[in-house]
């Protein structure tokens, strides 16, 4: 079976240690997590974890079953990239070089990046987009002095219309 990129969404109660309970399921099966993000959802005290990984669908299905088995997990799903709307965010701190200001401006415009802060020595830009778009701006900035670079994991919402609340009501 072919390995593909999958997005696992896990909805949990807000308890200490739940993140650890989720990640050991991957560790035990020698599965690398490409990215993971967590945040509170539209429902108070329900947390959402978006986990991106590269695996076979069979393995992903088994992992999702193990995730859902955890007492504090409300629901877990998996989707491929076409079934979700997703974004990442990157912050780039670049040293300013007076001789290359125009070149830098062109890169910023081309990628639709946003200027967040500026000082005499550096500027901080933000770009949100798919992983590939962020990789492109990083490539373009290669000859610049990139002082700091940080990117988030993927955040995602699913295309199917069923609400989380509906799933939780089904549980009750």
């Amino acid at each position: 079976m072919e390995k593909k990129r999958y997005n696992i969404s896990v909805f949990t109660e807000n308890t200490i240690g739940i993140l650890n309970r989720l990640t050991i399921i991957f560790t035990r099966r020698h599965i690398n997590i490409d990215s993971i993000t967590a945040s509170e959802t539209e429902l108070k005290d329900v947390y959402r974890y978006t986990i991106v990984l590269h695996e076979t669908e069979l393995q992903v299905r088994k992992v999702v079953a193990q995730l859902e088995k955890q007492v504090d997990v409300l629901k877990a799903f998996y989707h491929c990239d076409t079934e979700i709307v997703y974004q990442e965010l990157a912050l780039m701190k670049v040293r300013l070089d007076e001789d290359r200001m125009t070149e830098l401006e062109q890169i910023i415009r081309r990628h639709n990046a946003r200027l967040l802060a500026v000082s005499p020595e550096y500027a901080v830009f933000e770009l949100t987009g798919h992983e590939e778009s962020i990789n492109l701006i990083v490539d373009d900035l290669e000859t610049f002095d990139l002082l700091e670079f940080a990117r988030s994991g993927r955040v995602a919402v699913t295309k199917p219309m069923k609400t989380l609340e509906a799933f939780i009501n089904e549980l009750a």
Partner: protein, 566 residues
């Protein structure tokens, strides 16, 4: 509803009483002293069994839970007390045993400071518990324990751990106990899908060679009666996994034997000839399936389990039903037709005759000179045919496989062994727990010479509490199962499997347990009778043949159809 201000430690005791807990296993230490102090006032209503090592406490609680069908409770202190629980927790998790462990923890302001006997027991125990929680406030103790008891015993049972900081034990709280009956994120009892069960019934009704594999799920669901009715109505042959032994009477005409690597010949071989395989409350462990790519490929598989993650995990099912075994069997009973499968059953009987002639008869043949493992177990089983009062607890290794093969389990919860984890050292403490759960039964622990020495200190627990366990050590002076593998697969290179043993009779006598050693077949029978007739605990060391092998055997990587007789 009563409300009174008490310490967190006393709240623990009150919770135990509300959960009808009257026997607990434990070992005191610094961080759990307030709870032990509270226990002192409850010593008339809660019997505390002081073990000799915390691992023994969990195994004893497992034996207690498996023999009695109730949740086992363990108390331990922080740090090493808690880390010593880990093997037992792992064993209880993989063998679905309801256990509540309560550990003391350093005071909450010391968490994360490397304080004396501080360890991250929540982190360490997470992979080996069904659920765990750390409590830092006295008022949170009752709700945490209520959840713990609910989670441990519901759905697919398992071990849970509640870690209570010392300040929470000392703290004062209003107490009122509300048993937990529901958790939003946790649905332990699935509602069986009737359409799927109809589909399953359709397959069963049209099957020519249906075959029923049962596991511990039958026992955990208390579904022995439903299973018996279902099997008798449909006339389907029944085989059992290691942990399912006893769920279906071994002397029933439809019972065809024990599955797995060292199981019986027919039930393994004919797995690859049935047309519909009905697996209930079992999880297709690799010791049962052999090579999964060549496992029952010809059959339509119906898999019924209470744990959804087990469905389609190892063997893809044509019909996968997420259900409690008893519920599913009750519904199925009304959907299946009366049937008989005489010719198919005869295939099992024919192969059984081969196994009987080739393996069983030579193994149990009474030899006055030599003594072997099968003979020991066979005579014990013969005794039980008359007395019908034995619970047999086994450790891990050759003696365990021999016992599973040669003991005829006819009653539920009379077989207690470490299955999934294969924990040497399990049997002696588990037998202690089993005896406490079922004082009406005679508990026999069958242990190898290796495993016996892993938890031998629990003889002290037997001594201190005047407990009754009949201990049979099968001594072949080897770590026998590993030696067998070395003989078969590693060119007889016996790398560190020969074991120099102490004088067991002297050691056991030191714990004031009557002890005997036999070396011949002739001496064995009267010694066994003496062991079983002794009041209280007794010990019998059987010096058996050094290089006896367990057959049949499905080698690693082989198909169940390639089971070898020698």
């Amino acid at each position: 509803m009563e409300t009174q201000r008490i310490t967190g430690a006393e709240a623990v005791m009150k919770c135990l009483r509300f959960e009808n807990i009257s026997t607990i296993f434990g070992y005191p230490g610094g961080a759990i002293m307030p709870i032990y102090d509270a226990l002192y006032d409850y010593r008339e209503t809660i019997r505390h069994i002081l073990v000799r090592h915390e691992q023994g406490a969990v195994h004893a609680a497992q034996g207690f839970a498996r023999a009695g069908g109730h949740t086992g409770v363990v108390l331990a202190t922080s740090g090493p007390g808690a880390t010593n629980l880990i093997t037992g927790l792992a064993d209880a998790l993989i063998d679905s045993t309801p256990i509540v462990c309560i550990t003391g923890q350093v005071a909450s302001h010391l968490l994360g400071t490397d304080a004396f006997q501080e360890t991250d027991v929540i982190g360490i125990s997470m992979p080996v518990t069904k659920w765990n929680i750390q409590v830092t406030r006295a008022e949170d103790i009752a709700p945490a324990l209520a959840k713990a008891f609910y989670i441990a015993s519901s759905g697919r049972p398992g071990p849970v751990l509640v870690d209570i900081t010392k300040d929470a034990q000392f703290g004062l709280t209003d107490f009122h106990y509300q048993p937990c009956t529901e958790i939003r994120s946790y649905r332990p009892v699935p509602i069986p899908d009737r359409d799927l069960l109809s589909e399953a019934a359709g397959l069963i009704n049209s099957a020519q060679k249906p075959y029923l594999l049962i596991g511990q799920g039958i026992l955990l669901s208390h579904a022995e009666e439903q299973l018996l009715r279902f099997a008798e109505k449909t006339g389907i042959p029944v085989a059992s996994t290691l942990l399912g032994l006893g769920a279906f009477p071994a002397d029933h005409p439809l019972y065809v034997g024990y599955l797995g690597m060292h199981g019986n010949y027919a039930p393994n071989l004919l797995t690859n000839e049935c047309d519909v395989l009905i697996a209930i409350g079992m999880r297709f462990d690799d010791r049962v399936t052999g090579d999964v790519a060549r496992y029952a490929r010809q059959a339509k598989v119906i898999h019924i389990d209470i744990d959804a993650s087990e469905l389609n995990k190892i063997i893809p099912a044509a019909v996968a039903v997420h259900a409690d075994a008893g519920h599913a069997l009750e519904i199925l009973f009304d959907l299946v037709g009366e049937n008989q499968h005489g010719r198919w059953l005869q295939q099992f009987r024919d192969l059984e005759a081969v196994e009987r002639k080739e393996i069983i008869e030579p193994a149990v043949f009474p030899d006055n000179e030599k003594l072997n493992m099968a003979r020991v177990v066979h005579e014990l089983s013969t005794w039980n045919k008359r007395s019908n009062d034995l619970i047999v607890v086994t450790d891990v290794g050759q003696h365990q496989m021999i016992t599973s093969r040669y003991f005829s389990y006819r009653q539920a919860r009379t077989n207690i062994t470490s299955g999934g984890l294969g924990t040497m050292g399990f049997a002696l403490p588990a037998a202690i727990g089993a005896g406490l759960a079922r004082p009406d039964k005679t508990v026999v622990a069958i242990i190898g010479d290796g495993g016996f020495q892993m938890t031998i200190q629990e003889l002290g627990t037997i001594l201190q509490h005047g407990l009754s366990v009949k201990i049979i050590v099968l001594n072949n002076h080897f770590l026998g199962m590993v030696r067998q593998w070395q003989q078969l697969f590693f060119d007889r290179r016996y790398s560190f499997t020969e074991i120099v043993n102490p004088d067991f009779v002297t050691i056991v006598s030191g714990y004031r347990i009557p002890a005997q050693q036999v070396e011949t077949g002739e001496a064995f029978s009267p010694a066994l009778e003496c062991l079983l007739r002794t009041k209280g605990s007794a010990f019998l060391e059987c010096v058996v043949e050094r290089e006896e092998n367990v057959f049949p055997m499905v080698e690693t990587g082989a198909s169940v159809a390639e089971i070898r007789l020698n």
